[in-house]
Symmetry: C2
Subunit: 209 residues, 2 copies
DNA sequence: ACGCCTAACTAACGCCTGTTAGGTTAATAA
DNA sequence: TTATTAACCTAACAGGCGTTAGTTAGGCGT
C-alpha cells in the first residue's frame, strides 16, 4: 500500500523493493500469521526476492522484527497524540478521552500493519527483542498516564482511580480487539464509541435520570 | 503441583509421569514461553523423559496442544458457572456479574496453567488446532451470553447494550491481564473488583450524588 | 514361571530454519 | 568508456524440529 503507483524509478534499479518494502511486507505477514510461522523465506517470497538477499538490508531476523515493533508503537503514539492536540483548546475531558481511544483503535485496525503486528507478536518474540522495544513502549505509556492524570486532576475522572491500572485496562481492552474484530461486522469508530461509553459511564442501569 | 508428595508407586513402574503429567508440564511451559518456543524435546526434558517417549501418550504435538486448549476452557467455564450457581438464589444482578468476573480472572491467574496457556497461545497454534478448540469456546461464550442476557432482561444492565460486543469486550479485558499482571503487585481478587467497578459504573466523575 | 502390558529408551529420518560467503546484474558517476 | 556501487542471487552450512521404528525394563495376573 505504499509503492506501485507513481514515479517508479528514481533511486537505483528497476524493481527494488528495498529495506522499507521488506519491512512493510514483514509487518503484514507478522500481523496475519504471528511470529513463529513467518520465516525469512516467506518474507522474501512475498517481497519477490530470495531469502539471502534480506541480509543486504538487515543483519538478522531479530533486527527486522525489532524494527517492526518499534515502528508499530511510534505510529500509534503519534496518532494518539495528534488526535488529542488537534482538538479545540476548550474541549472537555470526556471529549479528549474519547479522541484518544478512537485514535488508538484506528491505528490498530484501520491504519497500521506495524501497530497490529506489534500487539499480535510482542508476546511471541525473543526476550531480547522485547527488551529493545520497551523504551518506545514506555514513552507511549507515559503519554497515556499524563493524559489520564490530567483528566483526574481536572475532575473529569473519579478521584479514586489508579492511573496505572486504568491505563493497563484501557490499552489491554483496545488491543484485545484484534483477536476478534471483523471489519465486515462494524467499523473501528463505532466500536471505539461503544468502548468509550462503557468506560465512561458503565453498563449498569441507573436509577437516577 | 500434582505429584511428588504422597504414595509414589501404585500404578505400574517407579517414576512414571504419565499422560497427565506430560500434559501438566506442557501447559506450564506453554503458559510461560508461548507455543513456538516450546518443543517436544523441552516438554520431555521438563518431564524427565525423552522426546520420543511422548508418542506413547500422544499421537502428535497438535494433539497435546489441543488437549491443553480444551482443558483450559473447560476449567474456566466450570469455575465461572460454579461461582454463579453457588450464589444465594436472591443475589442481585450486580453481585452475579461480579462473581462471574472474579471467577474468570481467578482461573486465569491463580488456578490454572491450562486456562492461561489457552489465552496465551491460542493465536499462535495451527489453524486446525484452533478449529478443534472452537466448540468448547463457543459453549463458554454461550454461558456468558446467557448470563448477560438475563441481566439485561431483569433490568440490571442498560437496555441498549449489545450482548455479544459486551461479552467480547469483557473477556478480552480480563484475558489481556495476562500480558502485564504481576502477582507481587496485587491480587487477582482486588483486580477483579477494579474491573467490575469500571464496567459497572464507569470512570467518569458524576455530578449527581 | 510365564507371558503381557505399560512406559519408557535409542537412533535415526527428512524437513525447515537463520545465516554466511561469494558471485552476478544493472544503473549511475567520472 | 570505465569504474563504482546498490541490490540482488546461488549454494551451502549447522542445528533444531516433529516424527517413526524398533528395543528394553519392570510390575501384574494367571
Amino acid at each position: 500500500m505504499a509503492q506501485n503507483t507513481a514515479i517508479k524509478v528514481n533511486e537505483t534499479s528497476r524493481s527494488a523493493v528495498g529495506r522499507d518494502g521488506v519491512l512493510d511486507i514483514a509487518a503484514r505477514l507478522f500481523r496475519e500469521q504471528g511470529y513463529g510461522s513467518v520465516s525469512l523465506r516467506k518474507i522474501a517470497e512475498a517481497a519477490g526476492i530470495k531469502a539471502g538477499s534480506i541480509y543486504y538490508h538487515f543483519g538478522s531476523k531479530d533486527e527486522i522484527v525489532a524494527a517492526v515493533l518499534d515502528a508499530g508503537i511510534r505510529v500509534v503514539h503519534e496518532s494518539m497524540r495528534d488526535a488529542v492536540t488537534d482538538l479545540r483548546a476548550d474541549a472537555d475531558g470526556e471529549t479528549v478521552l474519547r479522541a484518544a481511544i478512537r485514535a488508538h483503535l484506528r491505528a490498530l485496525i484501520d491504519v497500521s500493519d506495524y501497530t497490529s503486528a506489534n500487539v499480535r507478536i510482542f508476546g511471541q518474540v525473543p526476550q531480547s527483542v522485547r527488551d529493545a522495544n520497551l523504551p518506545t513502549r514506555r514513552a507511549y505509556e507515559a503519554e497515556w498516564d499524563s493524559l489520564l492524570s490530567q483528566l483526574k486532576k481536572d475532575g473529569t475522572l473519579k478521584q479514586d482511580v489508579d492511573i496505572r491500572r486504568l491505563r493497563l485496562m484501557l490499552i489491554g481492552t483496545l488491543n484485545a480487539t484484534l483477536d476478534w474484530f471483523d471489519p465486515d461486522r462494524g467499523s473501528a469508530d463505532a466500536l471505539s464509541r461503544t468502548y468509550a461509553d462503557v468506560f465512561l459511564n458503565g453498563i449498569l442501569q441507573r436509577q437516577d435520570t
